[in-house]
């Protein structure tokens, strides 16, 4: 407050902003301000739906359908939230989603990492054939297979079970492809040294390779977790028992049951959106890296 000389915009202090001098002449402050305004406008438009949902959820039920729409009602209330939470289903679905997403993430990452490590470091006869088959799996559009997959799950007795939701989601050939590249980059000398000391392959994997690849493992884990948490199509196909539904499926099931209770519907929506937004705030860097890595096929 008492430092009037402090520059108000971050141009002088920011690191990645040292654009060379001549450019400044052609893009004066005005250009930067325009860019900022444009970015802010888009941000506002993008935030609008969730802000409107939040505003609706905090209104008394009777005032949600005021027309023309108003941002505020006569009072701010959490009634819709207590009502939605007291019905209980939301909590069950939240727990189911968490269970499914954690299980999918753990199984996917560990089995993919094991396979990737073998493909990177542990030669055996037939390995190249197996790798080719694995890579071919990347191009299989899993959603298109739901009908035969459902038929198969019925034969296996996995319809309406947790395993039925989880297992078809854990096969991730692309993950093997990505992790293999990272494991190949681990210096061989470290592994050789451990081997001379008598460490088995499993021990080398867990104590040397995995810790060294922690950043990429964190990134892909969060990426898998988000995908599993938000997956709709497969859980929707395989579950009909409400007590086994994940959050997206359960909500879809009751979306119409809310009827004209828009405050409650929006309260449920806000609550269901919250967990991953919070996770994003905590793991922003890993998520950005995860998207960049998994989205662009590694590297």
């Amino acid at each position: 407050m008492s430092a009037p000389t402090l520059p108000l915009d971050s141009t002088t202090s920011s690191r990645d902003d040292r654009r060379p001098g001549p450019v400044r002449l052609f893009t004066p402050r005005l250009g930067r301000v325009c860019m900022w305004v444009a970015a802010a406008l888009i941000a506002f438009v993008w935030l609008l739906p969730m802000l409107w949902a939040l505003a609706t959820s905090l209104k008394p039920e009777a005032e949600t359908t005021a027309y023309p729409p108003e941002w505020t009602a006569s009072r701010v209330t959490g009634e819709a939230y207590t009502e939605v939470l007291s019905q209980g289903d939301l909590v069950v679905w939240f727990l189911n989603s968490t269970l499914v997403a954690v299980a999918v993430t753990v199984i996917t990452v560990i089995t993919s990492a094991w396979a990737a490590y073998a493909f990177a470091r542990l030669p055996f006869r037939g390995r190249n054939v197996l790798y080719a088959i694995t890579i071919a799996g990347i191009i299989v559009p899993a959603n298109v297979l739901v009908v035969p997959l459902f038929q198969q799950m019925r034969i296996m007795g996995m319809v309406d079970t947790y395993w039925g939701i989880i297992l078809p989601q854990v096969v991730a050939p692309a993950m093997v492809f990505i992790l293999k590249k990272f494991f190949e980059a681990v210096p061989r000398e470290l592994e050789d040294a451990a081997e001379v000391d008598g460490a088995g392959r499993s021990r080398i994997f867990w104590t040397i390779v995995m810790p060294l690849c922690r950043p990429i493992l964190a990134a892909v884990s969060i990426f898998v977790f988000i995908g599993a948490w938000n997956n709709f199509f497969w859980p929707f196909i395989i579950t009909s028992d409400p007590s086994l539904m994940t959050l997206p499926v359960g909500l879809a099931n009751v979306q119409n049951a809310f009827g004209v209770q828009y405050a409650q519907m929006m309260a449920a929506a806000v609550l269901a959106a919250l967990p991953l937004v919070l996770i994003f705030l905590f793991f922003q860097r890993q998520i950005v890296r995860g998207v960049a890595t998994a989205g662009l096929g590694g590297n």
Binding site: P20, F26, I42, P68, R121, V144, F205, L276, L296
Partner: protein, 322 residues
Amino acid sequence: MSTPSADNPTRRTDVATHTHTRTRAITTREPSRPGHRIPPGVWFIVPFFALYVVFLLTPIILGVVTSLFNTSLAGGTGEFVGLDNYRELLSDDAVSSSAGNTLTFTLFSTPFLIVVALVMALLTHRNMPARWLFRLAYFMPFLVPVTVVTMVWTWMLGTDFGFFNGILDRVGIGPINWLGEPTAAMVSVIMVTVWWTVGFNYLLYLAALQGIPEEVYEASAIDGASARQQLFRITLPLLKRTTGLILVLQLIASLKVFDQIYLLTQGGPNFATRPILEYIYDVGFTGLRIGYSSAISYAFFFVILVIALVQLKLFSRREGSA
């Protein structure tokens, strides 16, 4: 206690095996399995491959077989009908109309999903006040479960009390039946999809922009390039490969569209927005015709396969050049 003689040999064998193991571990670096030695790599691959075979390969094969039968979900394998299912789909109007809807959706949503993402990334890849908030705003919808997206948008797009019609009303435009009129419904679906998923492409562009070395800009600035020239002569050309990859990823994702359309319009009004995947779902799970449904799946599968092969080629080229 009562059988010391039986106890002793066992222990002795244990000790022997143990020492044997240790020597072997040091000298041959193989886990000890006297007799038949399975290379350690196999054990590392077995869990992944078992899952791969059961949950990916089996349904692929099962689907091919099923598509040759008139199997019903109600029970029974049905009888062998050869290629009849494939012949039927060629003349099925619902196949062509839902494939057409999928195509329309893909053709009109993809340009927005690419251009908007690019604009967002170009605007925010340099430091500016509140940049973290902008990034969060652009990417956040991608983190929201699809059902939340459709609940919120159904509410926004409502005909009677909806937010959009409320604003339009104020400027004197009559209420639009956003989800109930064929063209408006397709526009709504595309709008919602762009809002929901553009953040993913945005992050990919952001990562690519950060990979462009600062020196390139510095050098061009010394040569007197304007910001405009830098954008069109340096930045955009360098983003070409990223754009290619995003385009292919986007095409595959858009062709598989189901969730948001099913939840927003159920494919309506009068099937005007029903995508091919929803038709496959309808035939299989509502019409119970698994055989025919599998045949449509496979025809569709091949379309995506062709695009995916292009993707793989792009990926491997990227790998090769990196």
